[in-house]
Subunit: 399 residues, 2 copies
Amino acid sequence: MPHVSDRGIAMPDSPIRKLVPFANKAKARGIKVFHLNIGQPDLPTPEIALDAIRSIDRKILEYSPSDGIYTLREKLAAYYHTFNIEVSADDIIITTGGSEAVTFAFMACLDPGDEIIVPEPAYANYTAFAVSAGAVIRSIPSSIETGFALPPVEDFEKLITPRTKGIMICNPNNPTGYLYTREEMNKIRDLVKKYDLFLFSDEVYREFCYTGAPYISAFHLDEIENNVILIDSVSKRYSECGIRIGALVVKNREVYDNVMKFCQARLSPPLIGQIAAEASLDVPAGYMLDNYNEYLRRRNFLIDGLNRIPGVFSPIPMGAFYTVARLPVKDADHFCKWLLSDYELEGQTIFMAPASGFYTTPGYGKDEVRIAYVLKKEDLAISLKILEEALKVYPGRTI
Amino acid sequence: MPHVSDRGIAMPDSPIRKLVPFANKAKARGIKVFHLNIGQPDLPTPEIALDAIRSIDRKILEYSPSDGIYTLREKLAAYYHTFNIEVSADDIIITTGGSEAVTFAFMACLDPGDEIIVPEPAYANYTAFAVSAGAVIRSIPSSIETGFALPPVEDFEKLITPRTKGIMICNPNNPTGYLYTREEMNKIRDLVKKYDLFLFSDEVYREFCYTGAPYISAFHLDEIENNVILIDSVSKRYSECGIRIGALVVKNREVYDNVMKFCQARLSPPLIGQIAAEASLDVPAGYMLDNYNEYLRRRNFLIDGLNRIPGVFSPIPMGAFYTVARLPVKDADHFCKWLLSDYELEGQTIFMAPASGFYTTPGYGKDEVRIAYVLKKEDLAISLKILEEALKVYPGRTI
């Protein structure tokens, strides 16, 4: 048999995915598993989006344009304007989820061997998309002690080589929930300008900022608008991950043209998803506010509860719907597996994401987990109880 | 500004896309343009698929599994069984269109610098997907004189190097409509076996074989089942290109596992498209037969009409819904552009695809065009008339 690609072999295998069989076995034993491990919102998709799908009256489900349906792009431009992001429909390319936006951004900007700097913990699939493009991610760890604030500029500068082509950030952050301050964003801007880098900015969680601190988009930064590639998705903000609609927003025409070549090769993004996404942009303000308030309540409840468990520490996430918490365990990978394979509290257990999958710096995140608050408060209460009781009897406990 | 990727710059720019602005300008002048240039079927999407979309009663449009919805994969396995392709749901990975299936097949099997051999004319985006993967396409031209039959085995063997990893075919073929015979498929099989290659086989047009000759799938070939990667899509057979649902079918577990890493990184294929695709597999036999008969009638009418035009020659395509025809012109790229920018017959003109975009061998296809019969017979009749009259006055005519 011919050999498969080394590239495929180099693709990271997520520690979350490794645990899925254990979760399935627990379920097969009749145990109820609370999923704190995923970024799949449990809140309903807007009725207006479901209605748009249900009332499709086309005879043929044809290809849509490679850059996406124009009216969707127009509405997105108007949406960004409400965040003081001034772009036109012609700066927006509709993609098959935010995933494709990141992939095409890397493909269009990075050649094999090119490097990008990513503060970590970071969304694990950035590495996968970089591997696809043959690019190299150089990570800078941020620390739970500082609530995952931006690492010092000097740490970035130490990593810059002639192959450095960009910086990638996620703001508000998955997995930490950190929201970069204006000061931090200005530091990133200065680096981008000084070294003439691309700034890949994943801002899919912008609707969920809880502290009153302003959301600073990469497009709010002065004099680098031709360096910015904004990654977006409707998945999280409208609870419609399954429709696979994202966007890549770029003012640099050279980048735009390069990205479009990859878009044209794959013909078009999903038609029905675009119809749903366009409808979602007209969602009543009450829907967004209800969801916002619900996540805020859960955040407050979860973080408070985590910090009450002896030995557990969670910073207060400022945005998104995740937190990275430190547990009194040696090996969170083992603890998360143990919870699924060896533990139950009255027939129930929890599935958390070991934080090791969000770091590439050796040794980091070993005692950390990511918890997503995409469960209702009552289930978060049970989950906290399970965590507390489990830690009391877990053999690998450190303190 | 930082430099974009050389990879993006190397992406081929399709001669069809270059003509789109000229078609748009013609339309802006009030000219009716008949689109013979695209592979977008004009026949209706099955009602059963549209109904499935309209009756979605989910509250949340969630991620689907990375390998696709299980019941869809089960139904696809049963569908393949009707073509004597014996695979299980676990051999099938649902992708975002056939495009993603080809991309992931290349990503999972080929490393930068690896080579695949492709008989041409060939679907232009294979090159784009190869560029994405850093792989190299080595082309073997087939000839309109032989109706685009498989080039001699010796021509393949001349191209084989230590970096050769696979052969890619499209059967029935886009753009030529050629259907490989059992004898030809056996020759490909022998090559694949002798040199231990991957066989990437794009079989999305299998429903449309018009001559009574059998459709030979790559999975019908003996002793190479671990070498075969079958590419499929529901786009063409159910007139639902916009839902972006394809499939990659593979028995080789190493390839399967490698492909799945790319699938997991992009999370999931489109949910609603999968629902539509699954419903489409239950389409009444009458729908498929009606479409088949309609394409058959059009094929007969179009090819007959083409060969009646002085100086024009088209082989009789055995499958799909395209033909590559030779025209009495020096430069078909120029002729196709001229038709859009300088010609009209009673306010009407035609948009054909210059065949140059389907060849990489220099000099090939210069006097050829691809014509898709995705227009109804009356429109094909007008299109033939326009072609005939245009050739009478075209300044670049050769004979």
